[in-house]
């Protein structure tokens, strides 16, 4: 061990008298006593209680409607038809009637909340005009979280790298090239399995207007997904030489031919699908109510509605279910009861522990000596 040779004399080998070497660094030794711990317990219990109650009230203010349309209404016929693989490409329309008993009232977010929880400034100004009745499609027992499924994509291709467009990553195998050897764009199992049902909602014979854009994460839409570009070439020319994924009915550049900002890789539906869900039961945003015209300015009025489904997505293979979800939101989101309840339960447990500790403290602990006996 390093001895200091420089010094001499009878104390040459004496270790330094530094606080570090003598283990006397100034330090804070927290002493957990009843006087500090018990108030802390009560405080945390109160805090959790408050959060739980507040969130519960917030959640109570939202409305939600879930419709499982897998085999409901006329969709039963389509469900049976999709069982037959040979008729997979045939279109099938079906209809489902339902009733909204209580109108979906819009809850206006005040300015401050928009700043804090809203999207960007730009988004928040449109936000006001947008309705906050949200239309989701949901899938059950669809595993977007399988390891090989999640790997089966090429982010390089979808961010617009041209070499990747023609040369998809090997992770996409077997969905990287078609039988003719043409590269698939977008490649991989994720893109291939895109949810391709489409919906129209009717109220008293009138189509309920839905905004079908602005439903993806900001960074996904603006950073993560980019169309490859090549001078003045159109999207169709850029994608020339690629093949659509095998299960797709149309190529990627025709997802929304009318709107160039929603076509190709930056199509909102595609982006929403590509953000893989963590659990086998999930819902994804389909559209947002456009509240420009009556009778939808204040949300969805009560009454009878019918849902027209273009039924394409087969779920019977994996014993899945399909549903649509209509919901209103607050700053906290939709009908999410778990968190408020969890807070309340935690609060109760802490309170219980605190009371027990207080009793123990009163009985034995105050002097600190009785425990030793």
């Amino acid at each position: 061990m390093g001895k200091v040779k420089g010094r001499s004399g009878p104390l040459a080998q004496r270790p330094d008298n530094s606080a570090f070497k003598q283990q006397r660094l100034p330090a804070w030794s927290p002493m957990l006593t009843a006087n500090t711990v018990l108030p802390f317990f009560y405080l945390v219990a109160l805090l959790c209680m408050f959060l739980g109650v507040w969130l519960l009230l917030t959640v109570q203010g939202t409305q939600e409607l879930k419709l499982d349309y897998t085999e409901a209404g006329t969709c039963k016929g389509c469900f049976d038809m999709r069982k037959n693989a040979s008729k997979a490409a045939e279109p099938c329309e079906c209809r489902l009637d339902f009733e909204i008993k209580k109108a979906f009232k819009v809850i206006f977010l005040n300015e401050q909340q928009i700043l804090t929880f809203g999207s960007t400034q730009v988004a928040s100004s449109t936000q006001k005009k947008r309705g906050d009745v949200f239309f989701y499609y949901g899938l059950q027992n669809f595993h977007q979280n399988l390891r090989r499924y999640m790997d089966s994509r090429d982010d390089g291709q979808m961010v617009g790298r041209k070499n990747k467009l023609m040369n998809p990553s090997t992770y996409c195998i077997p969905f990287n090239t078609d039988q003719a050897g043409r590269p698939i764009a977008p490649c991989g199992a994720v893109a291939n399995s895109i949810f391709n049902d489409s919906f129209t909602l009717h109220y008293r014979g009138q189509v309920v207007p839905l905004l079908r854009t602005g439903i993806a994460w900001y960074t996904d839409k603006n950073i993560k997904y980019r169309n490859p570009s090549n001078g003045n070439m159109t999207l169709a020319q850029v994608f020339n030489g690629t093949a659509p994924p095998p299960y797709w009915h149309k190529p990627v550049y025709q997802l929304d031919p009318l709107s160039p900002n929603n076509n190709g890789f930056i199509n909102d539906d595609l982006i929403v699908w590509m953000r893989e869900a963590a659990f086998p039961n999930f819902k994804k945003l389909y559209g947002v109510l456009r509240r420009a015209a009556t009778p939808f300015t204040k949300g969805l009025p009560a009454g009878n509605y019918s849902l027209n489904v273009s039924y394409n997505f087969p779920v019977q293979y994996f014993r899945g279910r399909k549903e649509v979800v209509l919901t209103t939101l607050t700053w906290f989101g939709g009908q999410n009861h778990f968190l408020p309840v969890a807070y309340l339960v935690t609060s109760c447990l802490i309170l219980l522990a605190a009371v027990v500790l207080t009793v123990v403290w009163f009985k034995f602990g105050k002097t600190g000596r009785k425990m030793q006996d």
Binding site: P15, A123, H143, R148, V159, Y218, T219, K284, N336
Partner: protein, 1018 residues
């Protein structure tokens, strides 16, 4: 390193001055290489050694698994980064160690020595010296190799050496030994053309033994240890000598002795290894459960899901898929046994060792030595010691001997009254007196002055019968004695002060100044001291021509050899001896015998005959000695006091309060031992039943004993269990008359029967076996050389430092290590088990919960430093407090802070944490949406939420576990959290994503941040 090893030597044949002959045998050259690597071999050899560690190989195996694409559930770097880190830390440490070894090797190998080559003296580097060469040594030179002494410039072929380096340090007191040129060679002055052949034993590590035969001029001569100059010694008081190299370099006794010592492991180490094995078992179980789950899932669901996700081409059924899934999960879940565990433990122990080295309270200013942790792997065991085995002399006592009492011809001279503390002033009477000597009984001085014959003879004996060397400094006024044992020094000094000054010795004479008159005695024979004889004698012829044998030795041996007419004096002296021993003094009896010329002649012949004997020389010499040491006349007895070290009684009191049992093992006799026991406060007056067991009467002894004082032969009988159970029922145990081997036996016995942690503390070579066999060996660096220190794990210079070593450093080390291990297992279970729960939701597909960068960095960046800081700096109570309340030591002895139960509690807590960490985010997020409507149930949100929660939870846990928040703890805890958030921010940046879209796909920022920082994107 990889040189083919020649078959083991059976005997060594050497011819002097015949290099060609000697080279046939390929004896090792004198170049020593203690270093392990050179620049080229460092990397491969070091890696090879490191991969012999099971843990490292295991991680290499994981790495290979990860390279198989079908299995790889994690990127290769999640394993290779921590592995590389661990390997490189170890490699750097090894490299520094080796660098210093290279340096010292070079220094030693390049020392110069004079070698006879073809009859000419030439300077050669040490490394070029060969076996069979003849080397010339000069005074104060280091001996280059193990040499057979051929000739010496001193008369009678004697030469003197100091064992400086053999003891390991140049600063320790030096002892001088006397060596003899084989007497038949003594007359051969011209060694230059010596043609002798030699056969001897193969290289070994026995310092005190050598046997060989010299063939010279068609005659055989026996060689012993006394003819050997060992490497590492220094030549003293000898102008020149010549030696024949017999063992060189790695074959020398010095190098053979520096071999690897027995590797000691702590009980925590063993527990940790067991637990790690259990965790491996647990890992395999989890893998099997998940693989079965995978099989079921693939059969029930996955096969239906194939249209969306076909199986890999190589996978054709669900069973094979499950098989692959098993290995994938082994990769994912391997973090339950983190690779950083072993390295962290080493780092913490190293830190603790440095704290021991740095402790000023364990620094002795008198001897200028700080405590030293020579082993860095045993620190936490210092907190669990239950038995201390202590040597007495030099450990409890100072080993500074003072001549205290004596009995001359039945008259005892002692300190009469405590009030009469006038120190005797010797200077007017004797200018050569040692000013440091003190004695209080002036009647003795009077009796010397009046010329009492017995008194004179008494001191004459003391001035003649010894092996002390003298050295005169500053002219003649300052006489310095160098003695092999401090007892001898004390006796010779006493004689000196009473007017019988030993001045100098030559091999054939001893010169003294008796009452101011120089006298030279002819030294006829020295009958050496050894442990069996327990006595030494000299036969001298005084200037008048009378021959006399002077003998001093242990009373038990000596009193048997007295002339029968001495019975009365013997009884009186014997009483005195008992009295002295009861005062805790070391006693010796002195006797003489006048020899007639004829007696001497006769004996001399038989002695020469025995000395020249080739077989059983030792026995025959002993018999010859026995023959002459008979019918002696008793002169008296001496009593030497060995003072207790400072603070010994207090230390023993504190240690026994800490429930540590202290056993004193000593070679002294019963009375002395019991007395020391009293003065150390080991025995107190309220222990009425001091039970002394001698012989085999153990059966009568039962629980009511308070103390056992055991005679050595109690050990020899086969009553181990009886002994252990009896001794352990006692409050204090003192074993007396034990040999070094028996000391080790006692330790082994307790280790075997009590399963307790033992500590042995001692200072002399006779304690080495005990120090080596105890769990922890402590060496006192003091008067008796440093063999004990070299064999020890910890060393310091005062016995009283032991309480600080155990109660402060040991207790802290144990506490820290336990807290460290608890937390370490906790945090890795909390981290890893989340994957297990997720398995049930992701079709057992070995999808991880966290992203791969988090998995890579969790153990080496996010959570490593706070727990290291706790493991190194934590304190529950300040050091004074643990010395004031020795009871605080007991949790360590009972092993309460980390055992299998504690381990399961940690694991359970970790699993509970993982349940909360998985299911709460799972339940919250599956229904959650942003206020803009986008659901939050996506994988990225879930992964980041869980990871963040995990880092926060384990940081809060370490904050709760840390009891002593120094600046370093603050920096590490907050720094780890800070590093997590900054790294997360970096990983989510679009910059990284745009460079490597496939590697960093977790792009995403708060929209607000995006607007603020990345506006140019739009």
């Amino acid at each position: 390193m990889f040189r083919k090893k020649p078959p083991p030597e059976e005997e060594r044949r050497v011819r002097a001055n015949d290099r060609e002959y000697n080279e046939k045998f390929q004896y090792a050259s004198n170049c020593i290489m203690t270093s392990k690597y050179n620049i080229v071999t460092f990397l491969p050899v070091n890696l090879f050694e490191q991969f012999q560690e099971v843990a490292n190989t295991y991680f290499l195996f994981l790495l290979i698994l990860q390279l198989i694409p079908q299995i790889s559930s994690l990127s290769w770097f999640t394993t290779i980064v921590p592995l590389a880190l661990v390997l490189s830390i170890t490699a750097v440490k090894d490299a520094t160690d080796d660098y210093f070894r290279h340096k010292s090797d070079n220094q030693v190998n390049n020392r110069q020595s004079q070698v006879l080559i073809r009859g000419l003296l030439q300077n050669e580097k040490w490394m070029n010296v060969r076996v069979g060469d003849i080397i010339k040594l000069e005074n104060k030179q280091f001996v280059a190799a193990d040499l057979l002494l051929l000739s010496s410039s001193e008369p009678h072929g004697l030469c003197y050496i100091e064992t400086a380096e053999l003891d390991g340090s140049e600063e320790t007191p030096q002892f001088t030994y006397r060596l003899k040129v084989p007497h038949h060679l003594q007359k051969e002055q011209d060694t230059r053309h010596l043609t002798a052949a030699l056969v001897c034993e193969p290289p070994n590590n026995k310092l005190d033994r050598f046997c060989g035969t010299l063939y010279w001029r068609d005659k055989k001569y026996t060689l012993t240890n006394q003819n050997m100059l060992l490497r590492g010694c220094v030549l003293r008081n000898t102008e020149t000598c010549y030696g024949l190299v017999i063992f060189a370099g790695p074959d020398t006794k010095l190098m053979q002795n520096s071999g690897s010592t027995k590797f000691k492991r702590t009980s925590i180490d063993r527990l940790m290894n067991t637990l790690v094995l259990w965790i491996f078992g647990f890992l395999v179980c989890m893998g099997v459960i998940l693989a079965v789950g995978n099989a079921v899932w693939e059969r029930e669901v996955g096969s239906l899901f194939q249209s969306y996700l076909p199986w890999d081409p190589s996978v054709d059924n669900f069973l094979f898929s499950a098989f692959l899934s098993f290995w994938s999960y082994v990769i994912i879940l391997n973090t339950v046994v983190p690779i950083s565990l072993y390295v962290s433990v080493e780092v913490i122990r190293l830190g603790h060792s440095y704290f021991i080295n740095w402790d000023q309270e364990m620094f002795c200013s008198q001897c200028n030595t700080a405590a030293e942790a020579r082993t860095t792997t045993l620190n936490e065991e210092l907190g669990q010691v239950e038995y201390i085995f202590s040597d007495k002399t030099g450990t409890l006592t100072q080993n500074i001997m003072t001549f205290n009492k004596c009995s001359i011809n039945g008259q005892t001279y002692v300190l009469r009254s405590p009030f009469y503390l006038q120190r005797l002033d010797f200077t007017p009477f004797n200018p050569l007196a040692d000013p440091d000597f003190c004695f209080y009984d002036d009647t003795l001085l009077e009796s010397v002055k009046v010329g009492d014959a017995h008194t004179h003879k008494f001191f004459r004996l003391l001035s003649l019968c010894h092996t002390v060397m003298s050295e005169e400094k500053n002219g003649q006024m300052e006489l310095v004695y160098k003695a092999q044992s401090p007892d001898e020094g004390a006796l010779v000094t006493a004689a000196r002060n009473f007017g019988f000054v030993f001045r100098s010795r030559t091999p054939g004479t001893i010169t003294t100044t008796e009452m101011g008159r120089p006298v030279t005695y002819t030294l006829l024979a020295i009958l050496d001291f050894n442990n069996i004889r327990k006595r030494m004698s000299v036969i001298v012829r005084d200037p008048e021509g009378r021959i006399c044998l002077y003998c001093k030795g242990a009373d038990t041996v000596l009193l048997e050899r007295l002339h029968p007419c001495e019975q009365e004096l013997m009884n009186v002296t014997s009483d005195h001896l008992h009295e002295y021993a009861a005062d805790g003094l070391r006693t010796l009896a002195l006797a003489y015998r006048d020899l007639s010329e004829d007696e001497w002649e006769a004996w001399s012949e038989s002695y020469c005959c025995a000395d020249k004997a080739t077989s059983c020389r030792e026995d025959r010499l002993a018999a010859a000695y026995e023959h002459i040491e008979q019918d002696m006349m008793l002169l008296g007895a001496t009593a030497i006091e060995d003072k207790l070290q400072e603070g010994v009684p207090e230390t023993i009191a504190v240690l026994s309060l800490a429930n540590i049992k202290i056993w004193v093992l000593t070679g002294d006799k019963q009375e002395t031992a019991v007395n020391i026991g009293y003065s150390c406060k080991m025995l107190t007056d309220d222990m009425p039943e001091v039970f002394i067991i001698s012989g085999n009467t153990v059966h009568s002894v039962r629980q009511e004993l308070r103390l056992v004082c055991l005679s050595a032969h109690a050990l020899e009988a086969d009553m181990e269990t009886e002994f252990v159970s009896t001794a352990c029922a006692c409050k204090a145990v003192i074993c007396c008359r034990v040999t070094p081997l028996q000391k080790a036996q006692v330790v082994e016995l307790i280790k075997k029967h009590k399963k307790a942690v033992t500590l042995a503390i001692g200072d002399g070579a006779n304690d080495v076996s005990m120090i080596k066999s105890a769990h922890i060996g402590v060496g006192i660096s003091g008067q008796e050389g440093i063999q004990a220190v070299l064999a020890s794990d910890y060393s310091f210079s005062q016995f009283r430092f032991l309480q600080r070593l155990l109660l402060v450093h040991g207790r802290w080390s144990y506490l820290r290590m336990c807290r460290f291990l608890c937390y370490f297992f906790y945090k890795n279970f909390a981290f890893t088990m989340v994957h297990f729960w997720f398995g049930f939701f992701c079709g057992f597909s070995a999808q991880t919960v966290y992203d791969q960068y988090f998995i890579t960095l969790y153990n080496i960046v996010y959570t490593s430093l706070p727990v290291l800081a706790m493991g190194i700096f934590d304190q529950d109570v300040p050091d004074q407090r643990s010395l004031e309340y020795p009871k605080l030591y007991e949790p360590g002895q009972l092993n309460l802070l980390f055992n299998k139960r504690e381990f399961f509690i940690c694991i359970a807590q970790g699993i509970y944490t993982s349940v909360v960490l998985f299911f709460v985010p799972c339940a919250v997020l599956s229904d959650a949406t942003q206020s803009t409507g986008e659901p939050l149930a996506d994988y990225q949100t879930f992964a980041v939420t869980t990871a963040t929660a995990l880092v926060i939870v384990v940081s809060v846990q370490i904050a709760l576990d840390t009891g002593f928040w120094t600046v370093i703890n603050h920096v590490f805890v907050w720094g780890s959290l800070g590093s997590y958030f900054s790294i997360m921010l970096a990983l989510h940046s679009q910059t990284l994503f745009l460079i490597f879209p496939n590697q960093f796909h977790f792009v995403g920022r708060s929209p607000l941040l995006v607007v603020l920082t990345d506006r140019h994107i739009d």
